[in-house]
Subunit: 428 residues, 2 copies
């Protein structure tokens, strides 16, 4: 498509989304849930599943031709189990309380009027994502339930799957008498369309990029509207001298090994120098037994060398910044609690960090000093998650500090407004 | 200064600010208040006031030479009354509750750990502002009380005044044993320094531009970090057919005339066509009596023409988008409540809008349908203000919808983090 045509297309989509957002903001909870239930029912229909399978097959064939990796092709695949899980996810969101309309504060002004602060939808949310087609449904559903209009911009690899899923959503919206502009998929994966979208701050209130760090940085650096993002999870576990040894071992192993490929898995183990022999060695043994590669600093290396039998590599400066997402951990020795906090603030990504200690004062200082979305005392970093934190569902985890930090659920997809109920009050 | 040197200078300022932010986040309320009280005392000291007067005089002389307008020169002037008001402002902020550490939520996880969501400072806040030197103190004080490090980038016109005020803050911080990097003024007004600052999202968490729309757009379009901004206040008053006539007159006059130069003053009057003769005419008479110029559409013009005696102009399309900040109002006739809502969503700036009506259903529909930070029923838009809304102090009014909307006080200068207190819990 020529650029001027693309510009017009994307701008029209954004304008229509803004227009649809006004009526979405006034929908009742029952109506929103009816839309979600109809969508779930459609995605359970064998005929519709067969249509989806055919469209998904087109993407898979194109992906194979384009030489996508087996891992990417797997992520692309809409298996019956994944469709079941989409349906289950939709019903879970339908069952969640509606944040819109919730009263946050109420005050009486001296002149007599009442001031209420109430939750409202953000308005128009753009979702920019890569391969997985289930994001199309997951994000549209969370935005719908929170009363937001959604503009979806999926990746090239899932183009046909995303188009087919978006068509189902459109049909459901029309059947329920909702303006179908409430959820729109940009019908091209041309990068220029994304560049246009990122400038439309007059219509789009927020962008949420989901995908690799490259995509996220591109959006964050070029968008004019606020971007809610998650760069990476470089999570740290600090072993304090007052740590219970068994707990230090079990938390380190759980944080690293229970699911190494996710963002709340530990990447750095920080150990106080006084407890290298007593605490680090048992942890190192347990991690090694789980097949974890250790990349350590000088003091930890000396200690491992003395004990023997545990293989290790020397850590480089870059290792401490790295999100391995694999069975590798970098080990850093510190000489004080403050040094541990400073290390974590310098090398961590502000996602999730833990201290293992029996000393409440050390724990409090760590929780106050570490600048991260989630700071753990004697628990594994693996709990950072919308479901575990009681949000019910999750659209992502923010490593930003404004608007939303950490796991983001329906509430984080809302803004607020002040409603003033008066009796003719004027300002003097 | 050459660009490479400027880059290094600004980057060092930002790095030092981030470093200082970690210790600021752990300061006690008593310590923060002691800093504020010492700052207030310094600004009351006649010797220091004399030094400030001399530095301010340098700016005023330079401003006269540069041909600044009388209005700009007046805004630049640090009069004794303005210094008194700065001191009073500092003491008011000291008296406000500290938002940091406030517990927002608490949950018990099934495995046993406790999850607490607590308020924390944002971190490093950059303030980009124009002429008024009192912004240096006002913003630094609000950021200090909320535990944030501040990078100030003032305008050229107030360069010497800002330097003198920043030097006082630095002295006070050192005297109280606080890292003086907690508040830093960029010691140049070179635009390139601002361009550098806007790219430093690794150190600066948020920018707040204060000034003209040009400056704000420049920052919003170029900054990589979140920007909290206020473009303009195009506020609307809608007169419903069920409006009490006296109330319609008094609210319209108050919203337009009580202080026309501020952002929460009304710029558009929206009138239902059925009550032009009954309601609009008395309002038009009252506004005319206050010296307000009326710019009206066809139906309103016809009505004014029939009555006679009230001068008016024809409104252009641009008039309805205009923030006059002056005794001018644009009048638009609508044929329904929904048309009023649509007009306001299309032409307003999402700041403050009011409906005058005795009909609670019309009021509820208006409050739900109008997408603005503050939506009034039977009260003047002039109340949108941090003090009036009970926030105690105000760093600005946000027309954004993410992070903060409407008046922003200390609470809006905070983020949150999740603290997890466990007993060795791991994820299975």
């Amino acid at each position: 498509m020529v650029e001027s045509k693309l510009e017009k297309l994307v701008e029209e989509i954004a304008q229509r989304a803004l227009n649809a957002s006004y009526s979405l903001a006034t929908l009742s909870t029952a109506k929103k849930n009816a839309v979600l239930e109809r969508l779930a029912a459609e995605l359970e229909d064998p005929k519709i599943r067969e249509q989806l399978r055919v469209e998904n097959e087109r993407d898979l064939t194109a992906g194979e031709t384009a030489g996508l990796s087996a891992a990417l092709l797997d992520r692309l695949k809409l298996t019956p189990a994944r469709m079941d899980s989409m349906v289950e996810g939709i019903r879970q969101v339908a069952a969640l309380p509606d944040p819109v309309g919730q009263e946050l504060e109420r005050r009486q002004h001296a002149t007599g009027f009442t001031l209420r602060k109430v939750r409202v939808p953000i308005g128009v949310i753009g979702i920019v994502y890569e391969s997985r087609p289930n994001v199309t449904i997951d994000c549209a559903v969370l935005c719908l339930k929170s009363g937001n209009a959604t503009i979806l911009r999926g990746g090239r690899e899932a183009f046909h799957s995303n188009q087919a899923l978006a068509a189902i959503i459109t049909r459901v919206l029309i059947a329920e008498g909702i303006n179908p502009d409430a959820v729109q998929l940009i019908p091209t994966t041309d990068r220029y369309a994304l560049s246009v979208l990122m400038k439309l701050d007059a219509y789009v209130h927020c962008l949420i990029p989901r995908g690799g760090e490259g995509l996220i940085r591109f959006v964050a650096e070029n968008a004019r509207m606020p971007v809610i993002k998650h760069y990476k999870g470089v999570c740290n576990v600090y072993i304090d001298p007052a740590a219970d040894i068994d707990m230090a071992v079990s938390i380190s192993v759980n944080a690293k090994c229970q699911r190494p490929s996710v963002c709340n898995a530990a990447e750095n183990l920080v150990v106080h120098q006084d407890v290298l022999a007593s605490h680090f060695i048992p942890i190192a043994k347990a991690l090694h037994a789980e097949g974890v590669e250790l990349r350590v600093d000088r003091l930890a290396a000396d200690c491992l060398h003395q004990v023997g039998g545990i293989p290790f590599k020397t850590a480089s400066e870059e290792d401490y910044h790295e999100e391995y997402l694999d069975k590798v951990i970098a080990v850093r020795t510190v000489d004080s609690l403050q040094a541990a906090i400073d290390f974590i603030n310098a090398y961590g990504s502000g996602h999730s960090d833990a201290i293992v200690t029996a000393d409440p004062q050390a724990a409090a200082a760590f929780q106050q000093g570490v600048d991260a979305s989630s700071v753990y005392w004697n628990a594994s970093t693996r709990f950072t998650d919308g479901f575990e934190f009681g949000l019910g569902a999750e659209i992502g985890i923010s490593t930003d500090k404004l608007h939303a930090r950490g796991p983001m659920g329906l509430t984080e997809l809302t803004s607020y407004k002040f409603l003033i109920d008066g009796h003719g009050e004027t300002r003097s």
